[in-house]
Symmetry: C2
Subunit: 168 residues, 2 copies
């Protein structure tokens, strides 16, 4: 039921969420970036029930985020590989990692992005690739696109603080 | 059950996901950035069952991402406002929005981030605030932090493609 509701929304955030389906799916994508490809590897890493893992992998394949490759016919064995849209989920994972480290790692991060040469932790920040400027108001704004519905236009008309500059 | 599993993980992505709890919670945070504060406003925007909305708002308050302010004692009425950690979820939402627009908006984006002066759509990209350089290998790497467990060290030792440079 919930998935249907989300699919009907035009909001790109809702649609993106619909494609990754559930928390497990995001952690499966995380592990795919770590090089895991086989069912047993995902299961060991996640401690997930086999039936649940099967469903999540099927969903990710159906959503076009993982590609299934059969590497052994008998017994049937498949591996799972990130597609281009799956690899493009990278900035979401990086942003989640940075947020989790900033707020929910009281004992210190378990893993962090660091500058390779110095080991200094990175401070992820979003910019516009074309201009190099931070994605922050008033330089940047949310605007309706060709797919905007009356509902999304109404939401936009209320304004947003999504692009308000973050305190340093 | 699932929430308990996630909370026990040290991975910052898993912990971050645990704090936002469910898809609905992410859309509630989205709407909070759009200026919504009242129960009825969230309900109308999301088309969510009242009981579910109550639970999700309670969870977000308990997780420290929303603050509840009682503005009327009788009848009891409360409004909900982003906390500092809640506002800091911004980059995750922006990254999700960009991903949803790139891959799941065949009719064109319903909403997009644009440069205010020109209307040109932004291309969000993550950089290191300190150096201004893209968060990409080989300049940047994942490294274990003080909170790393043997499991997280083992995962890191396998390498990652999370920071592999994206094709332009």
């Amino acid at each position: 039921m919930q998935r249907t509701d989300f699919a009907a929304m035009t909001c790109p955030i809702a649609r993106g969420l619909d494609r990754v389906g559930a928390w497990w799916s995001i952690l499966i994508l995380r592990d795919a970036f770590a090089g895991l490809t086989k069912f047993d590897e995902f299961q060991k890493s996640l401690g997930i029930a086999p039936g649940m893992l099967t469903r999540r992998l099927d969903d990710l394949v159906a959503a076009g985020l993982l590609e299934r490759r059969v590497y052994c016919a008998r017994p049937r064995r498949a591996s799972y590989h990130l597609t281009a849209p799956g690899r493009d989920f990278r900035p979401v994972l990086i942003a989640l990692m940075a947020w989790g480290n900033r707020h929910f790692a009281p004992e210190g991060p378990s893993v962090a992005i660091v500058e390779a040469a110095t080991g200094i932790p990175a401070e992820p920040m979003l910019i516009d690739r074309r201009t190099g400027r931070p994605l922050a108001a008033p330089d940047y704004a949310l605007a309706p696109g060709p797919g905007a519905t009356p509902a999304s236009r109404a939401r936009l008309a209320r304004g947003t603080t999504l692009l308000d500059a973050v305190a340093a």
